[in-house]
């Protein structure tokens, strides 16, 4: 049986979200959840993997509640998690502008923006909590932008009509993360959190059907060790690095969630990836990562390409009537401000037509000359100065003089481990929060919503729902390395690492990563079709087979070995990539970040097919390269009724 012959198993359902009016569900759930006596919390150990917005805030909050938290990050400090790189802002339904915003509107915008592939209960809770997040962060000393009166400033973001995005210049993620990191630091100092930096989770320990710990490698000594707990929380982020080039950090990886998936956690909507339209194009094969330029640039910049194919004249020499301002032409009412997925796809189309600009023809112009003429250089500088400087530094081109070149890049993954309303995966005792889960963004994430979700999960949702699980399972048998199920996981991990070292082939880890990434970008990137996906699904097992035959990892496992770390992450990408392609192949509709060329409206827009695909696809692992089992979670929309998005 080949990989593509997947079977469909029993539907999966969220049994935790209460019924009743959507705005009462979170209160109801919190009331129904069992509590753990404060005096008993110390006896419970909770493992948290990752220290980004979700993990950092969860670790701090659980420790404040009295739990014993054991936390891990692969970075040398919890402060370096990749949440730090988020630029734009964080949404909250504060309605400080009195511009008609409300919890319900944020809920509505998020469900619609997610192209009706997210769960209403979860999204509504997110919108409710958004308000508390801002309070919490301000109390921690997060230096949000303020007005002269001393009150918080907001801006509009990502095409919504209200001004609900709180920000700290272009470094909102950094400031929010430092807030969580500082709260976590306080708990580390108090002895409530046992922090393990430079330690990477390599597998999940499941004993008697419950998540009971992890296997992790000390990246300095190379020692592989077991850590036990009463519950395990994965806050390890997204898997965008499957594509090799992305805006993710170099070491962001999918190992924690993929290993959890292999141990029984369903993986939902793996094909939902967000491609951000405004990134700096690659300059050559040496490119190691891509850098995002804030989406806000599209507020004043005009996007264009030459009308003629292969026009290599410098942009200034191309006269106005030989330029194609294609977004303004195709989408006259939204123009350059269409949502991310649409802007990205349009850029790909013009480049595919041979009209792309810059090296390799993989870029489009984002031109500020009109804005400079209209507002004056000073005003443009005040608004975008730091972005222009960043662009200038990276490309050595002055965007005040020459139009910027931009191209879409993989940015965020909406898919992730399937979780219920309590953020618990299908493995009891295993929770997934932040980008690691699939829950709130559906098929497309709106700008400034990732920070909101990470912090909502970590500060407020998980600390309320984890109680319930621990209260219901107060006494779990103590574990040791001698337990047969622990032995098995430990042995498998050690074998995998030893095998990587033993192959001693003739190709570097990066060469495989790059090959896989190119395959994924080509066939599972901005536009997908059955033929391409089948091709990728045929290629990936070949690459995987070659990997295990030709990989070369120098050094040993008992030392600081960055090649080994990298190779071990690629092992998991090579399996996850296959599931992404299969998910993309099975979902024969276009929705959000997933565009299937076979499913278009007559004028070339994405055509969603709610009757057939109005569900979240949760996949069950069987064996490497073997067909997985699909479990569908039907999505019910009681409050926001699905409509086809239109931006023309």
């Amino acid at each position: 049986m080949t990989y593509t012959d997947y079977t469909t198993g029993d539907p999966v359902a969220d049994t935790k979200a209460p019924s009743g009016p959507v705005h009462e569900r979170w209160d109801t759930r919190r009331f129904e959840a069992k509590l753990v006596n404060p005096a008993n919390r110390r006896k419970h150990t909770v493992i948290v993997v990752g220290t980004g917005l979700a993990g950092g805030s969860a670790g701090a909050t659980l420790a404040e509640q009295g739990y014993h938290v054991v936390q891990f990050c692969y970075q040398d400090s919890p402060r370096r998690a990749h949440s730090i790189a988020a630029q734009g802002g964080i949404n909250a339904a504060k309605n400080y502008r009195n511009d008609g915003d409300s919890v319900h509107r944020l809920f509505y915008d998020t469900v619609k923006g997610g192209d009706f592939r997210a769960r209403e209960s979860n999204v509504h809770r997110l919108a409710q909590i958004s308000v508390e997040i801002i309070d919490q962060c301000v109390a921690q000393g997060v230096p949000f932008a303020r007005e002269y009166g001393g009150l918080l400033d907001t801006r509009s973001f990502g095409g919504v009509q209200v001004s609900r995005t709180f920000y700290a210049r272009g470094q909102t993620g950094q400031q929010l993360l430092l807030g969580a990191y500082q709260a976590l630091s306080r708990q580390i100092a108090a002895g409530n959190v046992e922090m393990h930096p430079r330690t990477e989770m390599l597998d999940l320990i499941v004993v008697d059907g419950r998540a009971r710990g992890i296997v992790a490698r000390d990246l300095i000594t190379g020692k592989i060790d077991t850590y036990f707990a009463d519950a395990v929380v994965l806050a390890s982020g997204g898997y965008g690095n499957v594509f090799y080039l992305s805006t993710n950090a170099m070491n962001s990886n999918a190992t924690a969630i993929w290993r959890a998936h292999r141990r029984g956690a369903l993986f939902a909507n793996p094909c939902f990836t967000q491609i951000h339209p405004t990134c700096i194009p690659r300059t050559g094969d040496h490119q190691s990562k891509l850098t995002l330029m804030s989406e806000s640039l599209r507020n004043d910049g005009r996007i264009w390409v030459p009308k003629a194919e292969g026009d290599t004249r410098p942009p200034k020499e191309i006269p106005e009537d030989e330029r194609d301002y294609y977004l303004e032409r195709i989408y006259p009412s939204f123009g350059n401000l269409v949502p991310r997925d649409i802007a990205s796809r349009a850029a790909k189309n013009v480049c595919d037509e041979g009209r792309g600009v810059g090296p390799g023809g993989q870029g489009v112009y984002l031109d500020f000359s009109d804005a400079i003429a209209r507002m004056g250089r000073k005003a443009v500088e005040a608004k975008y100065g730091n972005l222009f400087d960043m662009y200038h530094r990276i490309t050595d081109e002055d965007p005040y003089e020459v139009p910027m070149r931009i191209y879409p890049a993989v940015h965020y993954t909406m898919g992730g481990l399937w979780v219920d309303y309590d953020l618990q995966t299908t493995v009891p005792g295993l929770f997934a929060i932040g980008e690691a889960n699939f829950s709130d963004h559906g098929a497309n994430r709106l700008g400034a919503s990732a920070l909101m979700q990470g912090l909502a999960d970590g500060y407020f949702v998980l600390p309320a729902t984890l109680n319930d699980y621990l209260a219901r399972h107060p006494h779990q048998e103590p574990l040791t390395d001698e337990h047969p199920q622990v032995q098995e996981v430990l042995a498998e991990t050690e074998d995998r690492v030893n095998l990587l070292l033993a192959v001693d082939g003739d190709r570097t880890p990066d060469s495989f990563h790059r090959e896989l990434g190119e395959l994924m970008w080509e066939f599972c990137g901005m536009a997908r079709n059955a033929e391409g996906l089948r091709k990728a699904l045929a290629e990936i097992p070949r690459v995987r087979e070659e990997f295990w035959r030709r990989i070369k990892v120098p050094g040993t496992g008992e030392e600081f070995n960055q090649s080994l770390e990298k190779a071990n992450r690629i092992v998991d990408y090579l399996e996850l990539a296959e599931l992404m392609c299969l998910d993309a192949l099975h979902r024969a509709e276009s929705c959000g970040g997933h565009f299937r060329e076979e499913s278009q409206t007559p004028d070339g827009e994405a055509a969603r097919r709610d009757d057939e695909f109005g569900y979240a696809a949760a996949w069950e692992f069987t064996a490497t390269g073997e067909a997985p089992v699909l479990h569908k979670e039907d999505l019910v929309f009681e409050y926001v009724h699905p409509t086809q998005r239109s931006y023309a």
Partner: protein, 249 residues
């Protein structure tokens, strides 16, 4: 471009290190400095040699992981992080010296990778506001004058890379510590712990074995985020104020 690299190689914390020389060819001026090292490492792996270990992650200048002293300058000749330094800042045929951060409080782990956990412990000593989740008042309950908010932000920009320590002739962590003290102490939210914060953080900084400040100014010159030298003055002032108040109690 063709370059000669002289790189600090050190197997682990317990062994001695030395500079090793490598030639790299075919370097594009558009490459970042770390991408140039990637090229070297790919070659070393294929030759069966140990690639050069260096810390890096976001490669967009914000996580603070990258940490190389290039030709004697922390983060190299431009005022930015190593990951945002591009090879066009060098000339064909150049010889480039690459060394790890040097400070007693930042011991070398391997090659160019150092242990900066001392910074985390300084933050743990008091670089936070005690605001347990759920206890926060409404965000607009306390307005913060814009100049104060901007001042706080300017100091909160610190990425904790450690370039200040690497550049300081005394291996001092004053700029790092002062950035956090100033960020939190200027805000009303940070006021209740204003005195203990600065006293505890400075005490921890001393306990970690960082040197003292002689106002050489190298830290502020090396800082990729432009944390100003007078940040240290501000911390001194806070420290004196706190010491006076503690003395009265």
């Amino acid at each position: 471009m063709r370059l000669t690299l002289r790189v600090w190689r050190q197997r682990n914390a317990d062994t001695d290190g030395a500079m090793s020389t490598y030639e790299v060819d075919g370097i594009s001026p558009d490459m970042s400095f770390l991408e140039m090292l990637d090229v070297l490492n790919e070659r070393l792996i294929l030759q069966g040699e140990d690639p050069v270990a260096f810390d890096h992650d976001c490669r967009e200048g914000i996580c603070g992981a990258c940490s190389l002293v290039i030709n004697g300058d922390a983060h190299g000749p431009e005022r930015t992080t190593t990951c945002q330094l591009h090879m066009r800042s060098f000339r064909d045929g150049d010889t480039i010296d690459i060394e790890p951060w040097r400070a007693a409080a930042f011991p070398v782990i391997k090659d160019l990778v150092v242990d900066r956990s001392a910074f985390d412990r300084i933050i743990q000593a008091g670089g936070y506001v005690t605001a347990p989740t759920g206890a926060a008042p409404e965000a607009h309950a306390t307005p913060v004058p814009k100049p104060d908010a901007d001042f706080a932000f300017e100091h909160a920009e610190c990425i904790g890379c450690g370039a200040c320590v690497a550049a300081c002739p005394n291996g001092a962590a004053m700029l790092f510590t002062s950035a956090k003290v100033n960020h939190l102490n200027v805000l009303p939210q940070g006021a209740p712990e204003r005195e203990t914060r600065v006293l505890d953080m400075v005490a921890q900084m001393d306990a970690e074995g960082f040197g003292g400040c002689t106002l050489a100014g190298e830290c502020a010159t090396a800082c990729p985020k432009g944390i100003p030298l007078f940040s240290i003055t501000g911390m001194n002032k806070e420290w004196l104020r706190a010491t006076r108040k503690a003395g009265k109690r």
